[in-house]
């Protein structure tokens, strides 16, 4: 794993900041929610308490007289409305007023709210009631195979004109039973009529304009939609359908009115219209209040939930994205709270107050904080990651520079002591300085080694001279013949020592010769030719072959040095080739250089040897030799090649049969 990647991962650890922020936001949200729930509970209890015992509001029924101390303590005994009978109607609390057009599509779809009354299979109707503001709305669906309208334009009291009719019976606010009927001569709007008996017993049927509706046929029957002001209504309410198959025929009557005197059988259990306005005074945006019966039917509600536009379209995309990370599924429901409404004696429950609040308020609060926090921490993370990445890249760059410098310093021919990054004041600078110091020491050491041979040669020469001059003197003395042999051995030893000294000083002398060499233009070919001819004499146990170009190869340089270089190459070739081997000396030309190639059969070069062959004091000879070797021969080759603006290389022959040394000389 690269340093860059590691630091990048480390930088990603700063993402714990936004994560922590999200956790905090959640905590904050639940705390806010708990607080809101508490306050909502307090609100609902307050409102419920204010409605305590208000049966007049809840059920349009006066509370039982307070001066009835002996009233039975059994629960809800006084509240008949809490025990509904079979003919009782329980209107829905409508959210909007239905349009009086005889169609049911603007009514809430609530099958359980329908009440059905039937006489037999062919005679039945369904009734759905609802309250909106101060009106009672009634939807009546009558099953009738032969819907029949009244004969138009006639006296509605003439029995011969009677078609299907619907009677409404109700108690008025004073408890008097009243009846109106609906009779339509065509589909469309219809207004109720009431029957009045005049001073002299004559009957008339004036319109009752407060009760209006619409009559529409439907498949297998007809539908009537009508509305009645609640102010007209007391407790009792009922509907009776008169079904006739022909005009004027006897009607088949059924419904929730007594068929003889049309008195109401059931009641209308509905809250007073004032309850809604009473609830409305507690309203706030984002709040919904509802009063229900103990069984759960809504009596009245005030709804301002939608007034607070939530975090809808206008919220920024970023905020919605953040919310996706923070919100747990299911936590965005509405806040709900309910409180029982007690009767005046605080014994029985007459209803329930339900308060619903949208979560928007605290969600918005939380979102605001969350967004700021997330923006801040995410940008912090981004900056941190970017900085770390940049830093890592910079570090990696410096490290790779350092590595390259160290590699090139160690593989190059001469040691480089100038090192990058040594001016840096951090740990990398320390490393670079350490490297630099190390290389300097190494350099000193190798240059010491390089001059060691020369120095040694010089230092040994004086004692050697003492030995040799002593031997010279001794030779002139009277030495017994038996001692002569030792004298001779001492002389041989000192001669060998002298040869060693000369070999050791060779590189130094070549360096000096190079320093004092003069460059002249000369033809390389005859020089090689002549030198190889000499080698034929010097090494009779080897064969030599020359391959020289026919045209002159003129270079600038020192021919003496070239011959010396060739001497070393041939020495090397002879040493590493078997007896009778053929050594080839080739001179080639390329665009910039003249190439001297010396091929000799023999063991191949090992891979680790190739780079070091031309170093000073380095040799790969396996065993001891009669002649002294200090690993200077090929070093001298290199020195002379470099003096001629070229280089020396060595490689194995392609067929592996031997080694080829190539010296490039600049032309």
């Amino acid at each position: 794993m690269s340093l860059r990647l590691k630091l990048l991962l480390l930088g990603l650890a700063t993402l714990v900041l936004p994560w922590g922020g999200c956790q905090y936001a959640r905590e904050m949200e639940s705390a806010l929610r708990a607080g809101e729930e508490n306050s909502l509970q307090a609100v609902s209890q307050t409102i419920a308490a204010s409605l305590q015992g208000r049966t007049d509001l809840l059920y349009r029924e006066a509370p039982p007289p307070a001066d009835a101390p002996d009233s039975p303590p059994d629960e809800n005994a006084g509240y008949a409305f809490l025990h509904s009978g079979p003919y009782d109607l329980k209107p829905l609390a409508l959210a909007a007023a239905p349009l009086l057009d005889g169609y049911s599509d603007d009514w809430p779809h609530d099958p359980s709210a329908w009440a059905y009354f039937a006489r037999d299979d062919r005679h039945r109707f369904g009734i759905l009631t609802g309250v909106y503001e101060r009106m009672l709305y009634v939807l009546l669906e009558v099953r009738d195979e032969h819907p029949l309208f009244d004969a138009p334009g006639t006296n509605p009291l003439d029995p011969g004109t009677f078609g299907d009719r619907v009677w409404l019976g109700f108690e008025d606010s004073q408890g008097e039973e009243r009846q109106v009927f609906l009779a339509a001569t065509a589909p469309g709007p219809v207004t109720a009529r009431r029957i009045e008996t005049g001073e002299y017993g004559q009957q008339s049927a004036p319109l009752e304009p407060r009760i209006r509706g619409a009559w529409q046929p439907m498949s297998h029957g007809y539908r009537i939609e009508l509305r009645v002001p609640l102010s007209m209504l007391g407790n009792g309410f009922g509907v009776l359908v008169d079904d006739r198959d022909t005009r004027g025929a006897d009607a088949v009557s059924y419904g929730t009115l007594r068929s003889d005197d049309l008195h109401t059988l059931g009641r209308l259990i509905v809250a007073a219209p004032e309850l809604t306005s009473y609830l409305a005074q507690f309203m706030q945006p984002g709040l919904k209040l509802a009063v229900t019966t103990p069984s759960g039917r809504v009596l009245a509600r005030a709804d301002a939930l939608a007034q607070l536009t939530g975090l809808g379209a206008e919220t920024p995309i970023l905020a919605r994205l953040y919310r996706r990370f923070v919100d747990r599924p299911g936590t965005r429901a509405l806040l709900e709270s309910s409180a029982p409404i007690y009767d005046r004696d605080h014994k029985g429950v007459i209803g329930t107050l339900e308060v619903t609040q949208t979560a928007n308020r605290w969600i918005r609060l939380r979102d605001h904080a969350l967004m700021r926090m997330l923006n801040f921490s995410l940008s912090t993370s981004a900056v941190a990651v970017t900085l770390m990445f940049a830093f890592a890249a910079w570090l990696a760059l410096r490290l790779s520079r350092l590595r390259q410098a160290s590699e090139s310093a160690l593989t190059g021919s001469g040691l480089v002591t100038s090192f990058p990054e040594t001016d840096a004041r951090d740990e990398l600078g320390d490393v670079a300085r350490g490297f630099s110091t190390l290389l300097q020491r190494l350099n000193e050491y190798t240059s010491y080694l390089r001059t060691l041979a020369g120095k040694l040669a010089h230092e040994i020469r004086t004692p050697l001279t003492i030995v040799r001059s002593s031997l010279d003197n001794l030779e002139s003395e009277q030495v017994p013949p038996s001692a002569r042999v030792y004298l001779e051995r001492a002389r041989q030893g000192s001669e060998r020592l002298n040869a060693i000294l000369i070999a050791m000083g060779a590189a130094t002398r070549v360096e000096e010769a190079i320093g004092g060499a003069e460059r002249v233009s000369f033809d390389l070919a005859p020089v090689l030719e002549s030198a190889v001819a000499a080698y034929r004499g010097a090494f009779p146990e080897r064969a030599f072959r020359t391959e020289l170009p026919t045209e002159p190869v003129v270079i600038r340089g020192a021919p003496d040095l070239i011959v010396q270089m060739l001497d070393k190459l041939i020495d090397n070739a002879v040493d590493f080739s078997p007896a009778a081997a053929l050594i080839s000396v080739r001179l080639r030309l390329d665009a910039q250089a003249a190439l001297i190639e010396v091929d000799n059969p023999g063991p191949a070069l090992a891979a680790h040897v190739q780079g070091r062959l031309f170093e000073s004091l380095w040799q790969s000879r396996a065993g001891p030799d009669s002649r002294p070797h200090f690993g200077l021969g090929l070093y001298i080759v290199r020195l002379i090649a470099e003096f001629h603006g070229g280089e020396a290389t060595a490689a194995n022959l392609p067929d592996g049969s031997g080694v080829r040394f190539v010296v490039r000389l600049a032309r």
């Binding site: 004086t462 010279d472 002549s530 001819a533 000499a534 080698y535 004499g537 003496d560 010396q564």
Partner: protein, 229 residues
């Protein structure tokens, strides 16, 4: 009267060995360890020949200084530098100061004595001006083996003893290649290839300073040198 050889050498063992060798040959020998000793003695009496080491005790170049002072006292006095150093630069500086020869201590005592004898012969020959010695003439070259003197086009070429013997060995058989060993034998020295090369180079330069077109010493690469007329 015995000839007096002065040996200025700071290494006592070498000094005494050389002194013994010279005395055996019949020379009178004075030995000095440093320049001050030598100079005070030379001021009193000049030797007939001086063998001087370059580095003397605490003076690494003391021999050069001594040579200069000695040359100031006498122009003819043969001076031989004998040193453990074999650097080209030292040789050039020594010979430029007017030394007759520059030798490294590899030289055997016998060789050294041979040189000293030769130098004395030269001194003798120079003192007998009109006695013709063994003269070798090769074109413009005239070699006087007695005086160890070379002339090119009638002008004297100032060669050191070693250089003279090399030229002599080459010019005696023109056209014959003399390899390095042969040249060393002729010059009574043991030298390595580079030193021979630089001797030959110096010889050429000295002739060329008289005749820029001098080209008589030819290199036969890998073999040696020859004199061409």
């Amino acid at each position: 009267m015995k000839r007096l050889v002065a040996i200025v050498e700071d290494e006592p063992a070498i000094r005494d060995n050389y002194a013994a060798g010279f005395m055996r040959e019949g020379y009178a020998v004075r030995t000095y360890a440093n320049r001050a000793q030598a100079m005070s003695a030379f001021a009193a009496r000049l030797p007939d020949l001086a063998v001087i080491d370059i580095s003397l005790e605490d003076e690494p170049e003391g021999g050069f200084e001594l040579c200069r002072q000695l040359r100031a006292l006498s122009a003819e006095l043969p001076i031989i530098f004998l040193t453990a150093r074999d650097s080209e630069l030292d040789a050039v500086s020594g010979l430029r100061l007017g030394a007759d020869d520059f030798l490294t201590k590899d030289l055997s005592l016998a060789h050294l004595i041979a040189r000293v004898n030769a130098l004395f012969r030269r001194v003798e020959a120079l003192r007998r001006p009109n006695t013709p010695g063994e003269i070798v003439r090769r074109g413009a070259l005239t070699l006087d083996a007695e005086r160890m003197q070379a002339q090119w086009d009638g002008q004297v070429v100032l060669l050191s003893l070693t250089e003279f013997w090399i030229v002599h060995a080459l010019a005696r058989h023109p056209g014959h290649v003399r390899n390095r060993q042969q040249l060393m034998d002729a010059a009574n020295v043991v030298l390595d290839d580079n030193t021979i090369t630089s001797h030959v180079k110096r010889i050429r330069r000295k002739f060329q300073s008289i005749d820029p077109k001098f080209d008589a010493v030819q290199t036969v690469y890998g073999m040696g040198y020859r004199w061409v007329e």
